[in-house]
Assembly symmetry: C2
């Protein structure tokens, strides 16, 4: 038998596809963690509380506060936490929304996302990672890049999100590599090909308008020139990241850049940026999420 | 009771998703037509003959020749018809491949596709439409554009395909509008918005490198600015077609252009090209397919 977990508070990152939770000590240490595939996209409004109880029910004996971010606060989520408008600090304690819960042990606060009027853009979840990054780095003026399904480039100044821009790079990679005709040339791609990635990034940066043509050539080279699946996959990644970098050039050219993301994906972005002379710092996405949620928790508020 | 159909030959267009057949008179008149969803992608090698017999069995009493084009001739098809290499005429009677058939009434010839070594590219099915277009128009030097799932731009000179370039525009539109996060803002899109289409084409042509950012703004404007589903759909189409036109500029700038495709899609391309000062001619894809297959049929060979 393990001892019961008695957290001071519980951190929850609830996205479209996944639900992740951490039992936290008041000093910021992680006592336990758990995850499930009960993402927002699979639940209707009545499904949120049971999904959360399944995951963290064993941690609730002390009725610790639960601090959540992500799509759980969208209009289709548990309880809408209306977007705040940039420019503004990434988080605001007073803007959190209490989710309705039947279980008396549950006290759930949801962080709102951010919106930008022009050019229109939105984020949910990343604002918490941004707040965490600013806590972890102390004062930071510069650019944050959060690669992922919907990559974000964010301009930070004086503790505020000044502007941001979202790219569908990760979702395009998933659709093209798994659901398009290109999947035939990428099946069983165990390896990775750094040279193919590097060349594709440069190619996309110098001629970004050719993306739509470059994509089909991956299929054609597989059919008539024996392009290896691992090379095809690395080249697709390079083409898409390079195209994103071409469009995001005003964000990174001559700027201080910090990457917040999963390790392998951040490494790919760092490599592509290094080839352009940008030496990006890197932070773990999970570390940033926990630091951001800690800033929102009533139990660690003083530490923020 | 209708009279039995006794064609001189049978035309077959057999793609990844669909199988279409026409019972043809020697003079080129269509006596009957039929189609099914027995596309190449759903069949294994043993499934082709039964699928064809289900569709055209009633037309076979005179054992007319069957002339086919499309993915049926790919390596995963009924019988591989190896690619011919450009520059070359779009079709070659002597390069057709006989498909093995158990039914003694079946005599099936499959047209090979075309490949280009550098930049690597391939086509299967379009070569027959190209041959048909050249027959319908007589001498034609200039550019053919075949919009579709995988749009092709083709340079024709002296009856030969000199070079070509494929764009995944149609497949990207299908994936993004039906399988990505953008689908949420396009559901129930009954209307179309010409102004949104036109503006998106111009936007993509002038800043093609921004495509990846423009895409997510469709979602964001749906969430925070009430973008209508019909406008979002038209803008997605305009962004993708405009990006294709930006990359294909060397093909159409100052050139004679003829569009071969489905009516609505060709109209969208014609509208986008007209805004760039290119007055494109238009041919029906089906007319071109039938004219191309007729050139391959032993029963109409003299007419070719």
């Amino acid at each position: 038998m393990t001892d019961a977990v008695r957290p001071a508070w519980i951190a929850v990152d609830w996205g479209t596809s996944n639900l992740r939770a951490w039992a936290m000590a008041a000093n910021g240490r992680v006592l336990a963690e758990a995850s499930s595939e009960d993402g927002m996209g699979k639940l209707d409004r009545d499904g949120f509380e049971p999904a959360l109880l399944r995951l963290i029910g064993a941690w609730l004996s002390g009725s610790p506060p639960v601090v959540a971010c992500g799509m759980v606060g969208s209009r289709q989520g548990w309880c809408e936490a209306p977007y705040r408008t940039v420019p503004c600090p990434p988080l605001d304690l007073s803007a959190q929304v209490s989710a309705p819960a039947a279980d008396p042990r549950l006290r759930v606060l949801i962080a709102p996302g951010l919106k930008q009027a022009q050019p229109a853009d939105v984020m949910r979840g990343e604002e918490t990672q941004i707040a965490g990054a600013l806590r972890l780095m102390g004062d930071y003026d510069g650019i944050l890049c959060l690669p992922g399904t919907h990559s974000k480039w964010v301009h930070i100044s004086a503790g505020e999100v000044v502007s941001f821009q979202t790219y569908m790079t990760g979702e395009m990679f998933a659709l093209l590599s798994e659901a398009s005709v290109l999947r035939h040339g990428m099946q069983g791609a165990a390896g990775w090909d750094d040279a193919a990635f590097d060349a594709a990034v440069l190619d996309a940066l110098s001629r970004p308008e050719r993306l739509a043509a470059r994509l089909f050539s991956l299929r054609a080279e597989g059919l008539i020139a024996g392009l290896a699946p691992g090379s095809a996959r690395a080249r697709l990644s390079g083409l898409l990241i390079g195209t994103e970098l071409a469009a995001a050039r005003p964000y990174w050219l001559g700027q201080k850049v910090t990457l917040i993301g999963a390790e392998k994906l951040s490494a790919a972005y760092a490599r592509a940026l290094a080839a352009q002379g940008v030496d990006a710092m890197r932070l773990s996405a999970t570390d940033c999420t926990l630091a951001g949620l800690a800033a929102l928790s009533p139990q660690t508020e003083a530490a923020g």
